[in-house]
C-alpha cells in the first residue's frame, strides 16, 4: 500500500536530480554532492514562493519549514506544472490528517528483533520501586479511563484513600488529574506526587476531600509535618488562572502544606523562545553578537528554571525533608518535566537506556503529555497555539545533565537526538496521540512499531563508553547560566560549518577503546586463573590480582 504513494520525479533548476517520495515516506534527494533525507513527518509548513512572473535565480519554487530547526527551499522550473504536482503530493502526505489518510506509522512494516512495546510495564516498574506497600496501593479505578481520560489505566494512590475519595478529589482537580504517585524514595519513603491545579476559582472554593487527601499523602511519612507543593508556574500566572476556574492551594485551606512557585513559563513562552533560537541559527548563524543574541532568546534561562525546579524537588525528597506534590495548570507539560527530571536525578535506574525509555514512557507518554497537540503529527495547522517544544526542552535538560556528569548516563548524545528525530518523523507509534486512552482506541501497540524497537535492537550505537553504573547516587547538576550551554550539535547541526565538528571520530575512538577494554577483562580473568595457582608469590608482576581487582569491580 505504501508503495502506491508513488515516486515523484522532478527536476530542480541547476542540478538535475530526482526528488522523490519513497516508500519510507521520506523526501530523498540524491546527488553526488548532496544527500537530503527528510521524513515527511518533520514538515511543518509548505509554501509556494514566486509566481508565473518571477524572474531571477531561485525565486520560484517551494519553501518547506521543518519542525527540527531547518527550512528547505527548492528552486523549480516554471514550465510544466511540476510545482503544482509536487506541492499537492507533498501536502497530502506530509499532512495526512487533513486528507483522511493514515499516519505513516500505521503503514510502516519495518521489523525488528526486539519489541519496544514490551519495555514499559507499569506493574513491573512500580514493583521495582517497591510498590504497593503499607502506604501505597495500585488502583484500577481508571481502567476504562472513566475517572480521568488523560491518565493511564493504572495509578498508585495512598492506601488510606478509597476509590470514592478519589472520585471526589477528581471533581476538584483540573481535568480530573488527581494527585498520584510518580516515585517513592527507596529508603526514606518520601514520594513525588503529580497532579493538575485545584479548581479554586475566583471565589476561592475549597474542597474538604482534596484537603484531606493531601493530608493522607503527607501522613504516609509519619514524622513529617508538612507536605511541599511545587507549583511550576510563576506566581502571577497561578493567580491569573483563578479567573478561569483554576488556582493553587492556599495556606488557609491546606494547613499542613507549604507551597512554592517555580517560575517556569507556559507553552507559548517556550514556543516563542525556541522560534527566536531558530532565527539566530538558521539559515545563517548570527555572528556579530552571538552571545547576547542567544541571551535574548531566553532559551537557556528557561532551561535553567526547569532544572532548578527539578533540583528542588529532588533535594526535598532525597534529604527526606518532605514528600513533594508537583503541578502546573493541567499537569502534563511543566509537571512532566519536573517529575521526570527529578526522577532522573534521584534514581540511577532511569539513567540506563531502558530505564530512560521507561521514564519517558511513564511520565510523558502514559501520563498524557499531549504529544499530538504539541508536535502536530500529520496536521497542517502549523500556527496552532497548542504546539510547543516542551519535550524537546526536557531532552535538552537531560543533555545538559549528561554534559555535567559524563559517566552517569548509559546513553550518548546520538540516543537523545534519535529520540528527537522520531518525535517528529511519524515512523513509529511511540509519540502519537495525546494520551493512553486514545492510543488504546487506535490500537497503537498492535498497529505500529515502537521507537524503542529500533533503539534496543541496536543498542551499541547509543551507548556511552564512559558509563559507570552507580546505585543510589543523586545527581545535582549546576543550574547556573555559567554552566549551561546551547546544544550546538542539535540546534545548529544543519549548518555545514558546524557539521565537521561533530564528534564522530571521538565516538569511533571510544568504541575502539571499549572493545579493547572487553578484551582486557577477558585476559585478566585468564591471568587470575593462572595466578591463583601460585598464590604464594603475589608480588611477582605489576599485574598482580590485588592491583587489578578495582578495575574489574568498577567496570560497566
Amino acid at each position: 500500500m505504501s508503495l502506491l504513494r508513488g515516486v515523484l520525479g522532478m527536476e530542480l533548476i541547476g542540478i538535475s536530480v530526482k526528488l522523490f517520495l519513497n516508500f519510507q515516506e521520506k523526501l530523498v534527494l540524491l546527488d553526488s554532492a548532496l544527500i537530503l533525507d527528510v521524513p515527511l513527518g518533520v514538515i511543518s509548513r509548505i509554501e509556494k514562493m514566486g509566481g508565473a512572473t518571477s524572474r531571477g535565480e531561485n525565486s520560484y519554487g517551494l519553501d518547506i519549514t521543518c519542525k527540527d530547526m531547518r527550512n528547505l527551499r527548492f528552486a523549480l522550473k516554471q514550465e510544466g506544472h511540476s510545482r503544482r504536482d509536487m506541492f499537492e503530493i507533498l501536502t497530502r502526505y506530509a499532512f495526512p490528517l487533513a486528507h483522511s489518510l493514515p499516519i505513516f506509522a500505521f503503514l510502516n512494516e519495518e521489523k525488528f528483533n526486539v519489541d519496544g512495546w514490551m519495555v514499559y510495564n507499569p506493574v513491573e516498574e512500580y514493583r521495582r520501586q517497591g510498590l504497593p506497600n503499607h502506604h501505597w496501593r495500585i488502583t484500577f479505578i481508571n481502567k476504562f479511563y472513566e475517572l480521568c481520560d488523560t491518565y493511564p489505566a493504572l495509578l498508585v494512590v495512598p492506601y488510606r484513600a478509597s476509590d470514592d475519595d478519589l472520585r471526589r478529589v477528581a471533581t476538584f482537580r483540573s481535568r480530573n488529574r488527581i494527585p498520584v504517585l510518580s516515585w517513592i524514595h527507596p529508603e526514606n519513603k518520601t514520594v513525588i506526587v503529580r497532579c493538575s491545579q485545584p479548581l479554586v476559582g475566583m471565589s476561592g472554593k475549597r474542597n474538604k476531600d482534596d484537603e484531606k487527601y493531601l493530608d493522607i499523602i503527607r501522613e504516609t511519612n509519619k514524622q513529617i509535618s508538612k507536605l511541599t507543593i511545587y507549583d511550576a508556574r510563576p506566581n502571577v500566572n497561578a493567580v491569573a488562572n483563578k479567573a478561569t476556574g483554576g488556582g493553587y492551594e492556599s495556606d488557609d485551606a491546606y494547613h499542613n502544606a507549604e507551597l512554592f512557585f517555580l517560575d517556569i513559563h507556559n507553552i507559548h513562552v517556550m514556543r516563542e523562545s525556541l522560534k527566536k533560537v531558530k532565527d539566530i541559527v538558521y539559515p545563517n548563524v548570527e555572528e556579530s553578537h552571538w552571545l547576547s543574541s542567544l541571551e535574548s532568546t531566553h532559551w537557556l534561562e528557561h532551561i535553567k528554571l526547569v532544572l532548578t525546579g527539578a533540583i528542588q524537588v529532588a533535594d526535598r525528597v532525597s534529604s527526606g525533608k518532605s514528600s513533594v506534590l508537583v503541578h502546573c495548570s493541567d499537569g502534563w507539560d511543566r509537571t512532566a518535566q519536573l517529575t521526570s527530571l527529578a526522577m532522573l536525578m534521584l534514581d540511577s535506574f532511569y539513567r540506563s537506556i531502558e530505564g530512560f525509555e521507561i521514564l519517558v514512557q511513564k511520565e510523558w507518554i502514559s501520563f498524557g503529555h499531549k504529544f499530538a497537540s504539541r508536535i502536530g503529527h500529520g496536521d497542517k495547522n502549523h500556527a496552532d497555539a497548542d504546539r510547543s517544544p516542551i519535550f524537546l526542552q526536557f531532552i535538552d535538560c537531560v543533555w545538559q545533565m549528561s554534559k555535567q556528569f559524563p559517566t552517569a548516563f548509559e546513553f550518548n548524545e546520538r540516543f537523545l537526538i534519535t529520540i528527537l528525530d522520531h518525535l517528529y518523523s511519524c515512523r513509529f507509534g511511540t509519540f502519537l496521540y495525546n494520551c493512553e486512552s486514545a492510543r488504546e482506541r487506535q490500537k497503537v501497540t498492535e498497529r505500529t512499531v515502537s521507537l524503542w524497537s529500533l533503539i534496543n535492537s541496536n543498542k551499541d550505537k547509543f551507548k556511552n563508553p564512559f558509563y559507570t553504573k552507580e546505585i543510589n547516587r543523586v545527581l545535582y547538576p549546576v543550574a547556573s547560566m555559567r554552566h549551561l550551554e546551547l546544544w550546538v550539535n542539535y540546534y545548529i547541526r544543519w549548518n555545514p560549518r558546524i557539521k565537521q565538528q561533530q564528534p564522530n571520530p571521538v565516538e569511533q575512538r571510544y568504541v575502539e577503546l571499549l572493545a579493547l577494554r572487553d578484551e582486557y577483562i577477558k585476559r585478566l580473568e585468564e591471568l587470575q586463573l593462572a595466578n591463583s595457582a601460585k598464590l604464594s608469590d603475589p608480588s611477582t608482576s605489576p599485574s598482580s590480582p590485588s592491583q587489578m581487582m578495582p578495575h574489574v569491580q568498577t567496570h560497566f
Binding site: 548563524v285 564512559f466 547560566m481 555559567r482 558546524i498 565538528q501 577503546l513 582486557y520 578495575h551
Partner: protein, 543 residues
Amino acid sequence: MEFSELIRTGRAQAELLRGPEAPPLRGTLCVTGHHLLLSPGPQATSDLWLLLLRSVDSIEKRVAGDSGTITLRCKDLRVLQLDIEGVEATLDIARSIEALSSLESVITSFPFFYRPKGLRLGDAWHFHPPEHYYKRVARETNAWRLSEVNEDFSVCPSYPRAVIVPRAVDDDALKRSARFRQGGRFPVLSYHHAPSGTVLLRSSQPLTGPQKRRCAEDEEMLRAVLAGARPGARGFIVDTRSSQTAKQARMTGGGTEAKAAYPGWKRLHRPLERGRPLQESFVRLVEACGDLEQSMDRWLSRLEGCRWLAHVKEALSTACLAAQGMEREGACILVHGAEGTDSTLLVTSLAQLILDPLSRTMAGFQELVEREWIQAGHPFQLRCAHSAFSHARPKHEAPTFLLFLDCVWQLGRQFPLSLEFGEGLLLALFEHAYASPFGTFLCNSEKERCLCEVRTRTHSLWSGLNQPKEQRKVRNPLYVLNPLAIWPSVEPQSLRLWQGLFLRWTRPPEPSEVAWEKVWQIVTDKEKTEGSQPTVSAPEPQS
C-alpha cells in the same frame, strides 16, 4: 637581603576557607621567606597546606574585635580567606605577605631555593633547545643556516643565541637588518612547513619612521626567503596591527614594509588586541566569573561584553590565515606587530599547532612553548607580574600567553583526539607562567636568564611535568596521531568559555575529574593488555 626582615610575625592561629567546595582548615599559620604555611596541628602533618607567596596577586585585610580576616586573591584565580586570631597578628601577617609576594629580585625568588626530591639540577634544560629544531630545518632545506651572530646577545637582546636565517644572508647583513627592526628583532625562521616548502617568519616592525627609511639588507633578506622557497614564490606579511595603527607608528620611528621595497610580498593587516586592552578584558572576565551575586540573566551578554572570546576568535582566525597562506597558497609568511614579542608569537605558535602534527605531541608542544615563547623573548616577567586581581594600574601586564593557552584549549575541544596533552597541561602552564617553583618562565629573555644563571641554579618545569606521577594530569588519554592540519571553526558558537580555567574554583570539580579518571582507566587497561608500559614521554622529535 634577609627575608626575616620582611617577616613581621612568625605565626598565628587561623582558619582557612578555600571556597565552597573544600572544607575549612584550622591550624597554625606561618609565613616563611617564600611560603605561607598552615599546619593543622601535630596529629595530621600530612595535611600541611602550602601557598607560594609569589602566587598572591592581591591581598585585602579587615579587622573586627580581636580577630582579623585576610582575603588572598591568587594569580591562578583562586580566592582564599584566612580568619586570624589577634588584630596585631593579622596586620603583621598581611604586611609580611604584601612585602614578600611583591619582591622583584629574580635571584632571591623561590626557584633558586627549590630542590625537589627526585630531580637533579641541570636536568631537562637540554630537552627542548631551539637549536635542535633549527638544525633539522637547515639540514632539510639547504636554504637556511644557523647563525651565531647573536651569541653574546648584542645584536638582539631579546633573541636567543642561535637563530635561523636564509643561507644567502651573511651575519653582517643580519646586523644591519637588526638595526632596521625594533629591538633588533630581524626576520628569523619560526617554522618550516615541509609539505609545501614554505616558511613562517617572525620579526618586529621595520623602523621606517616618518622619512620612510629603507634598509637594503632587510629587503635582501626577504628576497632571499622567497628565492629559497621556490622560484616565483610569493609572500604575505601579516601585520597584527590595523593599517591605521601601523601608519601612525611611523611618527614614533616604527612603521611597516613599503610595497615597492619588498617585491613579491603582500601586506595584510589583522589587528589583534594586546597590552592594556587585553589585560582589561581578562580582568573583566575574571570579575564576571567570580561575581556570584550578579543576576544570572545577564551572564551571556556580560560574557560577550568582556570581549575575551572575541580575542580568542581573532587570534585563531589570524593563525588560520597564516597557516592557510602556507598550506593552501604555498606562500611564505612573515608575522609581526610592533615589538614582535606578543601577538606575533601568538600567531606563529598557533599556526604551527594547526599545521604541524609534531607540535601537537607532548614533547613537541613543550618544544614549541620553549622555542616560540620562552626563547623567542616573550617578556614573561613583565607580562605575568600580576594576574587579574591586582589593584595596581597595569604597566606591562598582559595575558597574551594565557590567550594562547585558551586558543590551544579551543583546538583541543574541537579536535579531542589530536592533541597528546590535555587540559591539565594547559592549566599547569598558566599557573607556572604566573608563579612557579621552577625556573622555566623566569625573566624576560634568554639574555636575562643567562645573567641570572637560571639554567644551572633552578629546576626546569619540563622535568617537573615529565615525571611519571604527573602524566595522568597532563596527557590526553584519547590521543591518536592526526597527520592532517586541524582547521578550527572560529564561529562564535564553536568557541566556549574555558570553564576549567575561569570557573575552576567555583564549580564542583568532581564529575569532570571522575570522567577523566574513567578515560584513563580504560586507556591504561588497554595498555596493560597490550603488555606495554604507558609512554612517559614521547621521543624527542628533533634528533
